[in-house]
């Protein structure tokens, strides 16, 4: 059965009503708001057909209809009208992406701030990991008062650690060793720098500083991969789907132990571009009642940043897509 014009109209109206109200839609109200000259019985028939096609669900016998996952999918793919982005949010994004900053941690954090301010979504983001980052410089900055700041610079982020020099040690030896390593490994992906390489260098450094240096480098190689950032928790939890105490607990748990969110984000933002995953499509049991609009930013063929806008399946897809596409355009341009 192909969808005729009216069926599409009905489906679209149901999705949009439901997105706005979070209440199942009945035939009577729909007949009124739709404003075609047809009665509720006619709408009921159309609804029954849409349900048979798997595009609508019934919470229970007498509660009105709700879009199914496939219903949302059809809506997103064919029925939805793209919406231009909020003017103010657009302006702020432009301002951010036209700057000179190339530090991904900073860009991710700022972008999440903008995203969570612009809608009711849970905004998540993750910067480049060791795979995508190339070593640019490794240095030790004498900081006076017996202290030294170790700094590791890559093309996407910077890491640092402020240390107290052990008695009798001076910073210049440390700096020489690090700069030597720096020159040697210039441009190499962090992923390819192995523990044994580091140990060879660290061997030149004696005593307690040896351990601290190794610890710092080790943290640099391990870090950032797992640092998913999250913003907009309270918007998200304010959604009516989390009104029951059980659901809200689940949601809090999902956010706290961010492993599942991270998996969701990585899966959904596999390649460059914007993508939508709805309900069951997320393939994670914890998120089967949620949807995500995700995007990956590529540079030289590698995904260096990922963002996701997460909400209940009932989320405002048009707005989320507008935001995501703008972030995609802006960041890709800024970086490349």
């Amino acid at each position: 059965m192909e969808l005729d014009r009216r069926k599409r109209q009905v489906l679209r109206a149901i999705v949009e009503d439901y997105v706005a109200s979070a209440e199942p839609i009945g035939s009577r109200t729909l007949a009124r708001t739709l404003g075609l000259g047809v009665s509720s019985a006619t709408i009921r028939n159309e609804m029954a057909d849409l349900e048979a096609l798997g595009l609508l669900d019934k919470p229970h016998t007498s509660a009105g209809r709700v879009p199914s996952d496939r219903g949302y999918r059809l809506y997103v793919d064919e029925l939805m009208e793209p919406r231009p982005m909020d003017e103010e949010a657009f302006r702020r994004m432009r301002l951010l992406y036209l700057r000179q900053v190339r530090e991904m941690d900073y860009l991710v954090a700022q972008t999440l701030k903008l995203l969570s301010a612009a809608g009711d979504f849970l905004a998540v983001g993750i910067g480049p990991g060791v795979r995508q980052a190339r070593l640019r410089r490794l240095d030790a900055l004498e900081a006076g008062d017996g202290q030294v700041a170790m700094v590791l610079v890559t093309d996407h982020f910077v890491q640092h650690r402020l240390l107290e020099l052990p008695d009798g040690m001076d910073a210049s030896g440390l700096q020489r060793s690090l700069l030597a390593l720096s020159r040697e490994l210039q441009g190499v992906s962090l992923e390819r720098i192995t523990r044994t390489t580091l140990e060879a260098v660290a061997r030149e450094i004696k005593g307690r500083m040896h351990d601290e240096l190794l610890s710092f480098l080790h943290d640099c190689l391990a870090a950032s991969e797992e640092q998913i950032r999250i913003a907009g928790t309270s918007h998200f939890l304010a959604q009516p789907e989390f009104r029951e105490p059980g659901r809200i607990r689940e949601a809090v748990q999902l956010i706290e132990q961010s492993g599942a969110l991270q998996e969701l984000l990585l899966e959904a933002s596999g390649q460059a571009g914007v993508r939508v995953r709805i309900g069951e499509e997320t393939s994670l049991p914890e998120t089967r009642e949620l949807s995500i609009v995700a995007l990956g930013i590529e540079r030289q063929g590698e995904v260096v940043a990922r963002f996701g806008l997460i909400g209940p399946k009932r989320m405002d897809y048009a707005r989320a897509l507008a935001l995501a596409e703008e972030v995609f355009r802006g960041l890709e341009q800024a970086i490349n």
Copy 2:
């Protein structure tokens, strides 16, 4: 009326029972568990007296007793038995504080990890602000590929920003200007570095880099003061007091918009040493059902780091105090 031995026993038993069970305590069960050879009627009389003294509350006529704020206070000050710290957690703290790291952001983050692993508390922490930090070095590290990493080092933390150099600009001029400023302001508290000072320096830098430099320095001067760090949210939210949907929403909101938490922490950790604030004593309406065990770390007469263990008033004060005291000892020693 002075508290005789038995009243103290009863109060202590009620607090400890309630801490363990989160259920109001009735006279019958208490008479049994207390194991004095007295009947429930006698316990009832004692309870009535304790209530008259303002040490116990009744949720409603037939629900057993619950400690009041003053009851908890008396328990903490006089009745509680200090508990030694968990062996494993103690070992880990020692390991952290014996290291060479002097970077407060790192120490705060690691400490919070340990604290939130060691109990059911919401652990909060905050590092030194501009008041406490003295400028040590300001530098621009050439990072190849037309990029430069600006680095600001103080005696407590490091800030950085990775920037793309505008066309035709080279890093060495930038570096010269920053190092000059660095020498000039060496050892000056960040608080005393004014916007006009910065502008004078930034004037030497032309074009787009001017704005970025100012933005970076401005962020450095503004930053870290408001970066309260939070760990252990899920432990905290799992407490039975947050079972109702309304309460959990409140708690989430409190955590999300961390302003109240920060205020609470600043007030409670006013000076060096460990302090306890119970319920109404917190003087913030949002936290009148919570308690905090807080500590401030001093260096040269200034508080450079603050930590708090937050829970419902029914929290395990003995454990929280043991943890807090250990952090206090360890960090004060490490820093000074």
